[in-house]
Subunit: 338 residues, 2 copies
């Protein structure tokens, strides 16, 4: 069967090709009667609108590209759920891309989003990304861009994140209030602003409660179970005394708890542990893991709402970039209580 | 700055618009010299090829759409990793869509994939999907479709899955070999073929080891922690005696273990438990959860490889649909050992 085109509809109604095209795209210059007639014939002939061409004409695809560093994290999954809920309610569909923390992958993903003619991009920056060229490219194309969680100010785009400084402060303060005198902190690459902020919060909590900052209690590495295990091994070998540990994310905290168990050191009796991010497994393990919740579903919802608000009048980049900062929430479980 | 178009290049070289377009798309009718000249001018004028238009012409976007029911599951995340690895190595990018087990969402996602001109779709069917119309639509558009895990034969497309029957058999047999006499099975909606097959495997293992199939030991529900908790509550209230439990997926098994703990019933001493899917948390909880591994990364890799092989000669649907069936692997942890 030959494919029905706009020309067939135009011929049938004896109007121009462009009138049919505009009618199908609900253009204001076409009368309601003509639109109705075009729709009727289109339906009768079983005309399938070429959605790509249509998107090119209208400039709208109603698709939003969402870029996340790591789909394995509960945190990013919950944010996606939040974005999806709000966006679906407003007639948008979400396409996802996983950067796997690689700048190269991220660049490819953004390229693919632009190629797919998304109406906007909501992203959390990969840890491997130093050069922001591909993000500037989005702005240059006048495509709305919003960053969540791992956001940078220099791009000058709207952002939604939590107060990581406050989260770090809350975690360290919680351990201090539970009697800890020497609190280890495990952090990561200080290029990632959110990790740096958590570290700062830890330092300020120590200061506020008159505890010294001790260099031998600070560790750096890549977020992973191995990192946590490794830090405990080092502390054990060097016979460094400590009674509390704040890991910058939950998987690292899990490694800490696993290695402590192997050494037969009791959590929370001997060492009190707190993580960050409220990953799902934290509630299932024993002792269950205390952590800082980042309001991830809400973060996704707020990101979507802010995006929609700014995109409404098609002047997305006209105003100074809005920033939403959410409050972190302390989740007290078994691992940190005396 | 005015955007450089194909017309500018045509004017500069004094050749036709369509010659430039064909040259840019490496069309065989254009001489190598012309192609070279066109590329040179395009570069000098800083011409940005419209990738959508280009994809429309060449009919290739090098993007594959991957549809998963639930991004929160380790199982699906690992499959995505497997697909990504192979596809990236072969120059393809992956766009993801989450159906959240809803047929409506799934339909919208497939629509969005087609609209984005993906070169193919790799999907696992949502539990809510009864009507396969949107999948037939993909085939009708002659877009390559491959199903993994939750596959149906009636669509007549290539599939990659594990032998769920064998997995169910292995799980039940393992409990029998560990001394269990009365083994509870929790399953779900029997519309989902893989769950039905696991149930069948359980039944056949009982038969082979001369154990009766007892109706009061069979439960159905939606995969969730709550389902597992609920089944244990029912067994407890009805004072039904059992010493082993095989849950059709790990979250349900987790709920089982949580509720047993609340009743102070010891796993594995009093009840031996095994799940299915090898979710990440299973290794972290105590006792750690025995389970059936579905070789998820390999499943993703095999799916991508099969797709690429069939898509090579552009006759994707010409041959009878190939089916790859992977072997399930028993993972023995603490929850099932006497």
């Amino acid at each position: 069967m030959k494919k029905v085109t706009i020309h067939d509809i135009a011929k049938e109604l004896n109007i121009t090709f462009s009138s049919v095209a505009r009618a199908l795209n609900d253009h204001p210059s076409i009368s309601a009667a003509t639109k109705e007639a075009v729709r009727e014939v289109a339906k009768r002939l079983n005309y399938q609108q070429n959605k790509v061409a249509s998107a090119l004409r209208s400039g709208r695809s109603n698709v939003i590209g969402v870029m996340v560093p790591n789909l394995g994290a509960t945190f990013f999954n919950s944010i996606i759920l939040g974005i999806e809920t709000v966006m679906n309610e407003n007639g948008y569909t979400i396409l996802l891309y996983q950067s796997s923390e690689s700048s190269n992958h991220e660049t490819k993903g953004i390229d693919t989003f632009l190629q797919s003619r998304v109406d906007g991009i909501i992203s959390s920056i990969a840890m491997g990304t130093k050069d922001l060229q591909h993000y500037y490219e989005i702005k240059k194309n006048d495509i709305p861009l919003l960053l969540f969680d791992r956001a940078v100010d220099e791009l000058g785009v709207p952002t939604v994140r939590i107060d990581d400084y406050r989260g770090g402060f809350l975690a360290a303060e919680h351990l201090i209030k539970n009697g800890c005198k020497r609190i280890v902190h495990i952090s990561a690459d200080q290029n990632v602003k959110s990790f740096k902020e958590r570290f700062k919060g830890y330092k300020d909590a120590l200061k506020q409660y008159n505890r010294p900052l001790e260099k031998e209690l600070i560790f750096y590495g890549k977020p992973s179970i191995e990192l946590g295990r490794d830090c405990i091994k080092q502390l054990h070998e060097k016979k460094i005394d400590f009674d509390g540990l704040f890991a910058f994310e939950d998987y690292t905290a899990l490694g800490v708890m696993q290695q402590l168990k192997e050494y037969n050191i009791k959590v929370p009796d001997e060492i009190r542990v707190i993580g960050f991010a409220n990953e799902a497994f934290g509630a299932y393990i024993s002792p269950s893991l205390s952590t800082i919740d980042q309001q991830s579903v809400k973060m996704g919802e707020e990101a979507a709402k802010l995006f929609l608000k700014l995109n409404k009048d098609h002047h997305y980049y006209d105003n100074p970039p809005e920033q939403i900062v959410l409050e972190p929430i302390l989740i007290e479980r078994e691992s940190s209580h005396i």
